[in-house]
């Protein structure tokens, strides 16, 4: 059994509002998998159903391994201190009390503060430390870097990569495309309660089409162009600029970011 998680026909609705309309996907052991989607797409509901925090209407969810769940901010009492939270969660999980994770995650200096006094970044890192108690096989991260500054994001990304290198299965929900692109092996894009795409970032690019993005820098300013035919467009653009005697300072060609693909996919689904 290589699946860490297998989801079949997962359905969930609130009243008459269908949030998940029958999700099917698997996550392999050791994989970093992202659930992507705009707000209200059903990311958190899907995660919470898998985590066992939310009851679902129908379908089956199989989880092979011990789960560690990074809860969102505001899921600890306001006056608890980080070390107390670690001690409490360790006792609940019958795990050895180990404060070194607080140090590794850079919140050692905040251990004397109460939860309410921690910054958003410190809270996120504390929740990650708590999720890692008991050495789980599968780690769930819901919007792990939301509200963090650039430094905090980089630091948390490093921790996630470390976990991946230890062979942990990581499932994260996010709408940060850059984060997903840099961290994840595979992604599932949720749209209106169903999976619009499931595969690697490269597969998504293939599915969306052979789009290229050309960025040209001149003394007059920067311009960006989108094309399916890179050769013809480049020749035409360079020829046009040469004719106008505009000097090219820099030129870049890329296949677009995951974010661009995601927007495109969401647009197609809406149409």
């Amino acid at each position: 059994m290589n699946h860490a998680i297998q989801v079949r026909g997962l359905k969930k609705s609130y009243g008459g509002n269908i949030v998940l309309g029958g999700l099917d996907f698997e996550i392999e052991k050791g994989e970093t998998f992202a659930l992507l989607g705009v707000n209200g797409a059903g990311k958190t509901t899907s995660l919470e159903c898998i985590e066992g925090l939310r009851k679902y209407d129908s379908g089956t969810i199989t989880v092979n391994g011990k789960m560690g769940i990074q809860l969102q901010s505001s899921s600890l009492p306001a006056h608890i201190k980080p070390m107390e939270a670690v001690r409490l969660f360790s006792k609940w999980n019958k795990a050895k009390i180990d404060f070194t994770m607080l140090n590794a995650l850079g919140i050692k200096e905040a251990t004397k503060k109460q939860y309410i006094q921690l910054s958003t970044g410190q809270k996120r890192r504390l929740h990650l430390a708590l999720a890692l108690i008991g050495n789980p096989d599968i780690i769930f991260l819901d919007e792990p870097t939301a509200g963090l500054d650039a430094l905090g994001r980089v630091s948390l990304h490093e921790q996630i990569r470390k976990l991946k290198s230890q062979g942990k299965t990581i499932v994260l929900a996010s709408h940060d495309m850059a984060e997903v692109e840099s961290l994840c092996d595979r992604i599932a894009i949720l749209n209106n309660g169903s999976i619009a795409f499931c595969g690697t970032a490269a597969e998504l690019t293939d599915k969306i089409g052979e789009k290229y993005f050309i960025h040209i820098k001149t003394r007059q300013g920067d311009s960006a162009f989108e094309t399916d035919n890179i050769e013809d467009t480049l020749i035409a653009l360079i020829g046009d600029l040469k004719q106008k005697e505009i000097r090219i300072l820099d030129i870049k060609v890329d296949r677009g970011t995951l974010e661009r693909h995601f927007i495109e996919m969401a647009r197609r689904e809406t149409e």
Binding site: L53, L71, Q72, S74, S75, L76, P77, L88, F89
Partner: protein
């Protein structure tokens, strides 16, 4: 068990850090005791024999109806309850730890009242202290069970403040701790009997520990346990 005991100890510390519980379980009841104890015993010296019970009723009512419910809303009305589920801990654990912690806080306040009242106001100590403390424990348990129902069923703090006052004020005014219950009109006396305060007050008086004063408090406790159980089960299913 180790985790459970740590949870109760930690909750006790969190309650102290949370100013609202510190105020409702210690500061206000003890200030009220110091002020009103002096006034009552000087205006009506015969109150010396009941001042301990009266002040305890006020303290327990305040701690149980105004102090405990906001902590429960903080946990069960927010994402904190997910921490229990995520760690495979029964969702009722939060309620139990908060209940026990509040019990200890209120018991400490009551012990302070019992110790200080004879010194400060020449109050008479209860004749049978073991029965008195047993009655006190039952009364605190019964009052906290109502506080638990309030904290689990009322969804927001503003509503809770209003409803808690609707339980707290009649408990104080109609329980016989301010003036003898016989002076009240019959319908107010009857209304007073709805709340545990008048029953707890009588139970703690000398020779008051009997089934006649005990059954209603026991009934309240078990009714509250059932209500809390239903509410928590609903939360778990969600």
């Amino acid at each position: 068990m180790n985790g459970f005991l740590y949870g109760v100890t930690l909750q006790w510390k969190l309650d102290i850090r949370s100013k609202s519980l510190l105020v409702t379980c210690y500061i206000v009841p003890l200030i009220f005791f110091l002020l009103m104890g002096g006034i009552f015993t000087s205006v009506m010296p015969e109150m010396g024999s009941t001042i301990i019970q009266s002040m305890i009723v006020m303290s327990v009512s305040m701690g149980a109806f105004i102090g405990l419910p906001p902590s429960l809303i903080e946990t069960y009305g927010s994402d904190i309850k997910k921490a229990y589920k995520a760690n495979g801990v029964p969702i009722c654990l939060g309620l139990i730890t908060m209940f026990l912690s509040a019990f200890v806080h209120l018991m400490i306040t009551c012990v302070v009242i019992v110790l200080l009242a004879p010194i400060l106001f020449e109050a008479t100590l209860p004749i049978q202290l073991p029965f008195f403390f047993l009655a006190l424990a039952i009364y605190i348990t019964s009052s906290l069970s109502i506080g638990s129902v309030l904290g689990l069923t009322v969804k927001n703090q503003a509503k809770l403040t209003m409803i808690a006052q609707l339980v707290f004020l009649p408990s104080i005014m109609l329980s016989g701790i301010m003036f003898p219950i016989e002076f009240l009109p019959d319908f107010l006396e009857t209304i007073g009997l709805i709340f545990p305060a008048s029953w707890g007050y009588r139970l703690m008086l000398d020779n008051g520990f009997c089934f006649e004063n005990l059954w209603y408090l026991t009934f309240i406790f078990f009714a509250a346990v059932i209500v809390c159980g239903i509410v928590l089960k609903k939360q778990k299913v969600k």
